[in-house]
Symmetry: C2
Subunit: 221 residues, 2 copies
């Protein structure tokens, strides 16, 4: 059994790779650079996690067009990355338009060409940042696109084990599987010490706090 696993090198996707491996899949790890600020740091984290979990193949995709598209503070370095705002009615500036659909389309192309029967993506909708391309309805619709848009003999299941889990539950799962969180990277803002204040750091720190474990990475605050 082979699966394509989207691996950013953050806390969720790193846990995801361990969950997929633990479910018996042999992994093709897919990592995307799309001109995000912390591109180099994320790729190094993803490579380290892939080496730790053991993968068949580690693929880096360059989606430079997201920088040209703009519209997000993650890829437009003239915009500031917001500190976390507890305001769910408002989509944060870090939203990259339709990014997950782009990632899933590539993952499906790879899965079809390599005969993988599953694609793992670490989206979660519980304490998520309000990104529309993390919603369960989006995932269900994409499964239908995969079913209709690939060869009739191709059978690929979109696996989203975290979609109804909280970040703390994901962390708990990862700790029980021995995920090396010291190797992972979540911060949207820095490549040195994590900022501790952006949306991504906020949710990560909250999860470690809830579980009662110290986050092994360095924060600037």
């Amino acid at each position: 059994m082979r699966a394509v696993c989207l691996l950013s090198g953050g806390m969720d996707s790193s846990t995801l790779a361990y969950v997929a491996k633990d479910s018996g899949f042999s992994l093709i790890a897919l990592h995307a650079n799309y001109g995000q600020r912390t591109e180099g740091k994320e790729e190094r984290a993803a490579r380290a996690v892939a080496a730790a979990v053991g993968v068949e193949e580690f693929i880096v995709i360059n989606l430079a067009y997201f920088k040209a598209i703009g519209g997000s503070s993650l890829t437009d370095h003239l915009q500031e990355v917001d500190d976390f705002q507890p305001d769910h009615a408002h989509i944060p500036t870090t939203y990259v338009p339709f990014r997950n659909a782009n990632l899933l389309a590539i993952a499906t192309s790879y899965a079809e060409a390599r005969g993988a029967s599953a694609i793992f993506i670490g989206v979660q909708s519980q304490d998520y940042s309000g990104y529309p391309d993390c919603r369960p309805a989006f995932i269900e619709a994409f499964q239908s696109v995969i079913s209709h848009g690939t060869r009739d003999e191709t059978d690929i299941t979109l696996m989203t084990p975290f979609v109804m889990m909280t970040k703390a539950q994901i962390l708990q799962t990862g700790l029980s599987l021995g995920v090396p969180y010291a190797l992972t990277w979540s911060c949207y803002r820095n490549e040195g010490s994590a900022c501790g204040r952006c949306g991504s750091c906020h949710f990560r720190l909250m999860a470690f706090d809830e579980v009662g474990v110290r986050d092994p990475i360095k924060y600037e605050v």
Copy 2:
């Protein structure tokens, strides 16, 4: 009214750009290089057609990962491009896995970032080559992905005016709109004279024959 128009530079997508323009849209033309054999020729054709119809912006996207993915005679230059085979049960070797989903994902990212309300894609399912990512069910499913996976205030309609038309009907439409077919390129195999024998040349020549007009481009046979 603004629309993103997928423009390969072939007969269908060039006609599509004229249909979209004729419907009152201002156009962002999106052209993709994905390591296909006739990449340079297609891009020049797309640029020439875009200049002729008049566009707001012409964007070239590099999807080099399709070459790495392989699995298609269009991108794997060690495989031969088949001559047309009248065998609809069999998907031709020129199928690029899930290519149209990748193109539509990028088009949606651009449309959302630029405030476009429509995406035009020239798929047709009448005398098409049997590619799964041209089927009406695939297009319907992708519309649902767009609706669920973009901001709530984003409203993007996938426009497929050719989905139920034959290639001859598309050509007839294009001739009435003055599409400069001499500028377009369809051949999968060559960059000089069109081969006249691949699936793409086959359907193009059949359409010109049916309409009773001479195709203005050069063929080697």
